[in-house]
């Protein structure tokens, strides 16, 4: 019975010129955005890899110089781009691509793509994610808004009931029909998508992530199908059903995301960049607790070293006191950075958590978070890289300071290290986090979407159980 109804629904949908046209447009947009972003992402992946190699080559081939000069010359780390960010660019355009790893500072990332773009980009990028989050729900609305209202308006609902068709079967048949119509676009899009992505020979196509993404979107579409049918079953006329659904769509896709990220920001405010930098500087100079200023720390270190080596002046130390003091300074600033960046990251997490809760009101928010996470383009992925880069920076600077400490005497800034030292320091190799890690960050959204799925299906059964025929 369910299948018969589904087939009838599907045939009707396919005969509808409006559906054919809009489905065609959506498919074209989907493929066009897929292809253009793929071109951009694959060149970007290659260029970042090349730049990374170039940076390493420059590091190895640098002239002989004082290790501290080398520490200031530093190393640029280029954030690798996930191939799947072709589908969902996430926050990549707003987080910067490269960071200079050098002595003393935990630098911020430079060059955000969005800052280079025209104001028109703020209308939204043309990515597969936008098409799937905004346009496909519209297509679902278009297909399903009159599913029940039309039956009622034409009087066929009465007929169906008199035939003794169980209402929940009717509902699921219709659901299947609408979903089936949708699959006619999604299946070719998915296949072409995977073919395009697989073209990226050495650029690791991850079928598991791709599969997870398809799964997440299917659940999201199912929620919309059920939701549209619920409204159609309850609405008094097709026109009312359409207006209500469009209202819900607008509220979920435009108002809710903007509103809740704003509320998250107001609830968990961030310091201004200037305040943040000022606090970091103060803590480095005056000590984290405010009672341990930099010069006092240096004096203590001096006393300790003199005692340890049993000499009475830093000049007589067998090691370079300046280098050791610099390393001590590095370790102290690392603590300060950990404290402040830790606080900052916690704030961001609180904002993200708050925002994810809003998924209860708008499944668009949930799918957005999930989709970015799976595509590897969310803020957590960015921070994962930033943390790894910072670890590398600390290792790099430590190696250079210790070399200077053990191979030169205090006050000797003329000491020069060479290729042997540069080669001793390994290249920065970054391993991207796993899919499980990515999903764990947005577990909240995953659960909320699951609840939406169950709730909308239950809602569908309930709403047709006492459907009015007039």
């Amino acid at each position: 019975m369910i299948l018969t109804i589904a087939r009838k629904e599907l045939t009707e949908t396919l005969r509808d010129g409006r559906f054919r046209w809009s489905a065609g447009i959506v498919l074209v947009l989907l493929l066009a955005s897929l292809f253009t972003s793929w071109r951009y992402v694959s060149t970007e992946i290659n260029e970042r890899e090349l730049a990374k190699q170039g940076e390493r080559k420059r590091w190895l081939n640098q002239d002989e110089k004082n290790p501290h000069s080398a520490a200031h010359y530093g190393n640029y780390a280029f954030k690798p781009k996930h191939l799947l960010s072709t589908l969902d660019d996430g926050t990549d355009a707003y987080t910067g691509v490269a960071v200079l790893l050098e002595a003393h500072h935990q630098n911020q990332f430079e060059y955000r793509k969005a800052a280079d773009a025209t104001p028109v980009q703020r209308f939204g990028d043309l990515t597969a994610a936008v098409t799937m989050q905004l346009l496909i729900p519209l297509l679902i609305i278009l297909t399903a808004f009159s599913a029940f209202t039309r039956e009622r308006e034409q009087g066929t609902l009465k007929l169906l009931m008199s035939l003794g068709v169980p209402m929940h079967q009717l509902a699921f048949g219709k659901l299947l029909g609408v979903f089936g119509a949708l699959l006619l676009i999604l299946i070719p899009a998915t296949l072409i998508g995977s073919l395009v992505l697989m073209q990226s020979a050495n650029l690791s196509f991850e079928p598991v992530r791709y599969g997870a993404m398809i799964g997440a979107y299917l659940a999201f579409f199912a929620v919309w199908c059920a939701l549209a049918l619920v409204v159609s079953a309850k609405a008094t006329s097709s026109q009312v059903s359409l207006v209500i659904l469009l209202g819900i769509w607008f509220a979920q896709s435009f108002l809710a995301p903007k509103l809740f990220i704003d509320l998250a920001e107001q609830r968990y405010p961030l310091p201004s960049r200037r305040t943040f930098n000022q606090q970091v500087r103060n803590d480095i100079r005056g000590g984290i607790d405010g009672h341990n200023p930099a010069d006092k720390r240096r004096k203590e270190l001096e006393a300790r070293l003199l005692k340890e080596y049993g000499v009475d002046s830093v000049q007589k130390l067998p090691v370079n006191f300046d280098a050791i003091a610099m390393q001590e300074g590095e370790e102290y600033t690392s603590k300060v950075f950990d404290k402040h960046f830790g606080n900052l990251y916690r704030r961001y997490d609180e904002q993200s958590r708050f925002y994810q809760w809003a998924g209860v009101l708008s499944p668009t928010i949930s799918i957005q978070m999930l989709s970015m996470a799976i595509a590897g383009s969310d803020f957590w992925h960015h921070r994962h890289f930033a943390t790894a880069a910072e670890q590398y920076r600390r290792m790099l600077v430590k190696e250079l300071n210790m070399d200077m400490a053990h191979h030169s005497k205090t006050g000797d800034w003329e000491y020069k290290a060479g290729k042997a030292l540069w080669e001793k320091i390994p290249a920065f190799e970054y391993t991207a986090p796993s899919l499980t890690w990515a999903i764990e960050n947005v577990a909240q959204s995953l659960w909320i979407l699951a609840v939406w799925l169950v709730a909308s299906l239950v809602g569908l059964i309930v709403s047709v159980a006492n459907i009015s025929v007039l």
Binding site: T36, E44, A51, F78, Y94, Y111, V243, K258
Partner: protein, 457 residues
């Protein structure tokens, strides 16, 4: 009601964002002056010490009188002031770098470096919930929702054919009903504009001219959507079909077209990768460092009068730095050049096609009027660059000639010259024309169709 509430929230929200930005950009002129005075005091002390030791003052040793040192310590900033009115349309200004470091090496080091505020990147991606958003997205929806059934109701109930008997033209009936409802909506929108203006810029510091332009822009944008409804109605379809057509127009003009056009601009004129830029910059700086000894040699060959003092020659890392810097800038110039050319081409392309979507035009117009436009930002960059040149002209000759810097108290400060209102008005008018022309065409089309409107279905 909902519309007004959302609009008021948006105004409040934009105002918060702008005040936050303004607070973070606030520079205390007195503090700056006190700081420069204290540097002058330090310099005087150092001088006194040299005099007491009977050492020469020039060439200056590394210290407060050394021009390179002075340039580093007294480094200036060029700040783009934010207008209070900007709260109504944030535009790209949340991504703009409104504060530029002015120092000899700043062009090399932080040319495009970000000093913008700490924000959740998702927030930036989703965009500001400001008044412009309400006007561009929600206002048309409201117009469509309230006007699309203005005609069809009467047609279905048969009252229309009754009207046909009366000596009033059908065109007149449609027009009056539509205009009445539209006038109410426009009234609400304009009142909201006024509230927005007074709430965010109570003292009208941005000038009355901008307020008038703002109200005009909202009116013109609203007129376009009313004309669109009117045109669609003139086909005499059922209300459901009208609703679908109008909804499709909204989606096409606000979502599909802007992102597609921007995508096309990026496809036709791709910006050279920033990664490549960093790469080139690093390569160039290694090269320049390697050649710095040679560069210095060449410099002294060209300026033999400066080469005599061998002690200073050994120490003259400042000259070496400047020469290396120039070298780096010269070699990354082509990458930069391509970048700016392509970026200009993107903007040019969008300018040529923006008439396709009045939403794009409206956004540009609002940004222009409230002072968050690309043009204003570009003007700031131009002025900041000019100020940087002035800074260089001040310090570089001193460094090259090894003269002491004695001018702390007379250092120039950057002051942004606001775009003249006439220019803003002119740019806004030409943008609004791009909305008025399709509005006129739609109205004309509707007029012609209404003449042949069928009374009986």
């Amino acid at each position: 009601m909902v519309f007004a509430t959302v609009a008021l929230y948006a105004i409040y929200n934009g105002r918060e964002a702008i005040q936050r930005e303004q607070a973070s950009l606030l520079r205390d002129a007195h503090q700056r002056k006190a700081f420069l005075d204290s540097l002058e005091q330090v310099a005087k002390k150092e001088e006194a010490k040299l005099v007491s030791l009977q050492k020469p003052l020039e060439p200056p040793a590394w210290g407060a009188r050394h021009p390179y040192f002075a340039n580093m310590r007294a480094a200036s900033t060029a700040t783009l002031p934010i207008l209070n009115l900007s709260a109504l349309s944030i535009g790209q200004s949340d991504l703009h770098i409104k504060e530029r470091l002015i120092r000899l090496d700043s062009e090399q080091e932080s040319f495009e470096q970000d000093e913008s505020d700490l924000r959740h990147p998702l927030k930036l991606k989703l965009g500001e919930f400001d008044f412009a958003f309400v006007i561009i997205y929600l206002f048309p929806l409201l117009i469509l929702a309230l006007l699309f059934s203005v005609m069809s109701g009467e047609k279905e109930s048969g009252v229309l054919s009754l009207f046909g008997v009366q000596p009033v033209s059908l065109f007149e009936i449609a027009k009056r009903k539509l205009l009445l409802r539209a006038a109410v909506l426009f009234g609400v929108a304009e009142v909201l504009v006024l509230i927005g203006v007074l709430w965010s810029d109570a003292r009208l510091e941005a000038g009355v001219g901008r307020v008038v332009l703002l109200m005009l822009a909202v009116l013109v944008y609203g007129m376009f959507w009313v004309a669109l409804v009117w045109f669609v109605l003139s086909f005499g379809k059922s209300p459901a079909v009208n609703a679908l057509i109008l909804g499709a127009c909204w989606i096409a003009l606000l979502i599909v077209l802007p992102s597609a056009l921007n995508g096309l601009a990026e496809m036709f004129y791709p910006l050279p990768s920033r990664v490549k830029y960093v790469d080139a910059m690093r390569e160039a700086s290694v090269e320049a460092e390697r050649r710095s000894a040679k560069l210095l040699e060449q410099f002294y060959q060209a300026h033999p009068e400066l080469a005599k003092d061998t002690l200073a020659r050994d120490r003259d890392f400042a000259i070496k730095n400047l020469l290396a810097m120039e070298e780096v800038l010269k070699s990354v110039q082509p990458v930069r050049e391509t970048f700016h050319v392509r970026r200009a081409q993107q903007a040019e392309f969008l300018k040529r096609v923006q008439w396709l979507s009045p939403a794009i035009v409206m956004k540009q117009a609002l940004n222009t009027i409230v002072g968050t436009s690309e043009e204003r930002y570009a003007e700031f960059m131009r002025q900041a660059r000019a100020f940087h040149q002035q800074w260089r002209r001040l310090f570089e000759p001193l460094i090259f000639q090894r003269k002491a810097f004695t001018n702390y108290t007379a250092l120039p400060e950057f002051q942004f010259q606001e775009e003249p209102i006439a220019e803003i008005a002119q740019r806004s008018f030409s943008l609004l024309m791009l909305i008025l022309i399709p509005t006129g065409l739609l109205t004309l089309g509707a007029f012609i169709r209404f003449k042949t409107y069928s009374i009986v279905l």
